[in-house]
Symmetry: C2
Amino acid sequence: MASTRDSVHNPGRAAFGARVRELRLARGLSQERLAELAGLHRTYVSSLERGQRNVGLDNILDLAAALGVPAANLFQDA
Amino acid sequence: MASTRDSVHNPGRAAFGARVRELRLARGLSQERLAELAGLHRTYVSSLERGQRNVGLDNILDLAAALGVPAANLFQDA
């Protein structure tokens, strides 16, 4: 999972995380509730929203389903 | 990386892989050339097109850039 792109700031990850956060807040969901709906750990949701995770395809699709949007929607600002 | 969802058939991964393949062929690119453009290994591109990989966000963004499309476009059929 670790790569040189983990360091400091990764714009692609940051945009993805910001978009997840935006959609989550628009639905009035806590990080804990989104984690529960997507089958993830709350701390994982917290770190991915901060752009710190190289989120895998399976989790991306589960997040989209939990947020009730097509997966493409998670990349709207990416 | 391994999960129970790796087994047999994962529809989300398959749709993603099929979409990458579709865009690659539309551009007349070989798997080898796409791999080169995206900084991936040819065998990785081959297996992801067959829906066998839990592709990470960093690689998804690199694939989109290599194909010249917004990342959202890779999820058009997902």
